[in-house]
């Protein structure tokens, strides 16, 4: 089994290095095929490992030492257990699909080979992240995915906005990574090891304050990667990257790493329910907060990005309330339908020549039937309609909130579910229904390549049927995660809740259809709604990016300039130069002594004589005083 582990892990790396070899040469399909093929290999290996793990075994290997000094010992160790194998499956499935899809999507791009190098490197980092058996290894993957995300967001590096977004994402993640690093330090100095098994076995012996701090710092790391408030702004900006990247990184895998971390560290968070409650509350807040921003946005990809953010909030609610398996399950289901949604959006973008405003589209269902069906079904799944994946995972989270008696959280999530349904179908309605507004802009849309649609179909299938795996999945992961079942015990309440939620969501969908399916004009900012305060607030993302810009970025730049021009040059360096100049000046001034006038020299000589004599007198007096 170790062989499969290594294949699953290193196949993407090989693909990445192979593609990187061709990084400087013109496009060759070879890189795309090889990278996709290797990814598929990795997927197959993961699947084999899955069956193995389902048999009740786990695989744990230690490849080699990484760092060892003092008492610190960090190996490159990998573990395939019930949790990581689920993640591996999610990662490999989505990335295989995205790889194949990208062969078509990046067809006309000059950086074709480079794209595959980055993309496969990302998958490798992600695999390291999920498979590592210690926190340091997790951190390698953690930073690795950050790097690849940087490279892929800024893939079109000639675009100012893309590179800016790439840097923003990297730096924001770094802020969170610092928190995670501190959490790792605390673990090391309190436990003495970073191996999961050792840490989780010993964590209970620590004082609760320390565990709380560890939990908080690790969660700060998770907040950055999963774009939780207040570190969320990078995710929407990250949509500057190519759409397959958004599908793979910013919807399905990387952003869920934070959830994975909390799930993985469940023995820690189990001990600190207060932090868990905070995580859940923050998650609920982010769910609503992000959904509200998605309501008014006019950028197709950003709407889906906010939706991702909102769903990540759901996952954190589940994880924070201790329902780790539910969080992981929603993570999995979400990965499928959100990736599908993004890939569909990619098709639309291609068709519309990179136009992103859904108000400029409309009526596309006629030309893009396949994409239309896929995106609609993905949206249905996202909204949580029975029997699609979202129903099983998302409604479960609502139930968790209800069963755990956190009714505020429950209400917020319920409201968000309605909003989710509304904005998803607002998008679908605007893109695929109504008048063909794109004709105003002289665009001739076309459906994507066949094989791209075929490549997307596994995701479609999974988005539809993932819910049926629920029990199998549950049996699998309870080996590692707390096995609490979340059932509303009162039969009547359960049915009222379930049906009520469904009806509420349907109502939201219908409302969205009614409002937007017959839209016939492109808004130009003159309507009454667009000038209302609420709309402006949401449109400007609560003014948070602007706030960051004004409060952090600009002052930091200004402060840096002051530090350089005022402090470093005018104070620190000037002090040094002043000392040097003082010495020079002293020389310059005393130069008059050496004016060559013998008479003056004689006077100085006498002066010196007197000084020496005075010293002699003083020392003699002093000497006598001491000896007496």
């Amino acid at each position: 089994m170790e062989l499969y582990l290594y294949i699953a892990l290193f196949a993407p790396l090989v693909g990445s290095l192979f593609s990187a070899l061709f990084g400087m040469t013109p496009k060759t399909y070879l890189t795309g095929y090889i990278a996709s093929g290797l990814l598929f290999t990795s997927f197959v290996s993961s699947a084999i490992l899955l069956t193995y793990v389902m048999g009740g075994h786990t695989v744990h290997v230690e490849m080699m030492t990484w760092m060892a000094t003092g008492d610190l010992y960090i190996p490159f160790g990998f573990v395939v257990d019930q949790v990581s194998v689920v993640m591996m499956m999610v990662v490999t499935i989505v990335s295989t699909v995205v790889h194949i899809y990208s062969v078509g999507y990046m067809d006309h791009d000059k950086g074709f080979n480079r794209f595959f190098a980055w993309l496969s490197a990302f998958v490798f980092s992600m695999m390291v992240l999920v498979m590592s058996d210690n926190f340091a290894g997790l951190f390698i993957g953690w930073e690795g995915v950050g790097l690849c995300s940087w490279g892929l967001i800024g893939f079109w590096y000639h675009k100012e906005s893309a590179t800016w977004a790439a840097n923003e994402a990297f730096i924001m993640n770094r802020i969170a990574d610092l928190g995670m690093l501190i959490g790792i330090f605390m673990l090391y100095w309190n436990v003495g090891s970073l191996q999961y098994d050792v840490v989780f076995a010993e964590i209970g012996n620590l004082p609760i304050v320390i565990i709380t701090w560890i939990g908080i710092f690790l969660f700060i790391g998770a907040m950055g990667k999963s774009a939780q408030f207040p570190l969320h702004t990078w995710l929407a900006d990250a949509m500057e990257g190519p759409t397959p990247v958004s599908a793979l990184i910013h919807a399905a895998t990387m952003v869920t790493a934070g959830v994975y971390l909390v799930v993985r560290a469940n023995p820690i968070y189990d001990l600190i329910p207060n932090v868990g409650l905070f995580i859940a509350s923050l998650g609920a807040f982010v769910a609503l907060f992000a959904a509200s921003m998605a309501l008014v946005n006019r950028d197709m990809k950003r709407i889906i990005a906010y939706s991702t953010l909102s769903q990540l909030g759901y996952m954190f609610v589940a994880a924070g309330l201790g329902a780790y398996w539910v969080a992981l399950f929603h993570l999995m289901a979400h990965a499928f339908f959100k990736a599908l949604l993004f890939l569909g959006a990619g098709n639309v973008m291609h068709a519309m020549h990179d136009e992103l405003d859904p108000f400029k589209m409309g009526g596309l269902r006629k030309v893009m039937k396949g994409t239309f069906i896929m995106m609609t079904l993905a949206s249905v799944a996202l909204a949580g309609i029975y029997p699609f994946a979202g129903f099983f995972s998302k409604d479960l989270i609502l139930e968790v909130g209800f069963v755990e008696h956190h009714y505020v959280i429950y209400t917020v999530l319920l409201l968000t579910a309605g909003l989710t349904a509304f904005y998803s179908f607002r998008l679908v309605a605007l893109i695929f229904h109504g008048e063909e507004r794109y004709k105003l802009f002289g665009i001739h849309p076309h459906e994507a390549y066949k094989f791209m649609l075929v490549a997307m179909s596994p995701l479609l299938l999974l988005a539809m049927i993932a819910g049926s795996f629920k029990m199998t999945y549950y049996q699998l992961v309870i080996n590692l995660l707390p096995s609490t079942q979340y059932h509303v015990h009162n039969e009547v309440t359960f049915w009222i809740m379930t049906i009520g939620t469904q009806l509420f969501v349907m109502a939201a969908i219908l409302f969205a259809y009614k409002k937007y399916s017959n839209w016939n004009s492109v808004p130009d900012g003159s309507s009454k709604m667009e000038n209302s305060f609420g709309y402006k607030l949401l449109w400007n993302q609560y003014y948070i990016p602007k706030f960051y810009e004004e409060v952090f970025s600009k002052p930091y730049l200004e402060l840096s300039k002051i530090a350089w021009k005022q402090i470093d040059l005018k104070i620190v360096d000037a002090t040094v130069d002043m000392i040097a100049n003082a010495i020079y000046k002293t020389g310059e001034n005393t130069r008059d002594i050496q004016n060559g006038n013998l008479s003056t020299m004689l006077r100085w000589m006498v002066f010196g004589l007197i000084v020496l004599l005075a010293l002699a007198v003083a020392f003699t007096v002093g000497y006598n005083a001491v000896s007496a």
């Binding site: 130069r591 060559g596 006038n597 013998l598 008479s599 006077r603």
Partner: protein, 101 residues
Amino acid sequence: MEITLTHYLVLSSVLFAIGLIGVMRRKNLLMLFFATEILLNATNVAFAAISHYMGDLSGQMFAFFIIAIAASEVAIGLGLLIVWYKRTGKIDLDQMNSMRG
């Protein structure tokens, strides 16, 4: 009212101070030489007095050699002075400033 060594030393100091004032005050090189002679003589007095009161001949020896040095100094010094005078026609100290730094 006995004359002690201190009397001589004070006298010598006073003469030395007069010599110093001369050295600092004079600008004419020849007159400056006079002042240096005074300095040398002041020390000679001190040496002779110490020699006498300590009952040691070394002081007189030193004074003797100082006189020898003074003599040679005058010879060389005047020679140089003549050279300088031939070149510039003046023996004013303020004009000898080629060592200006």
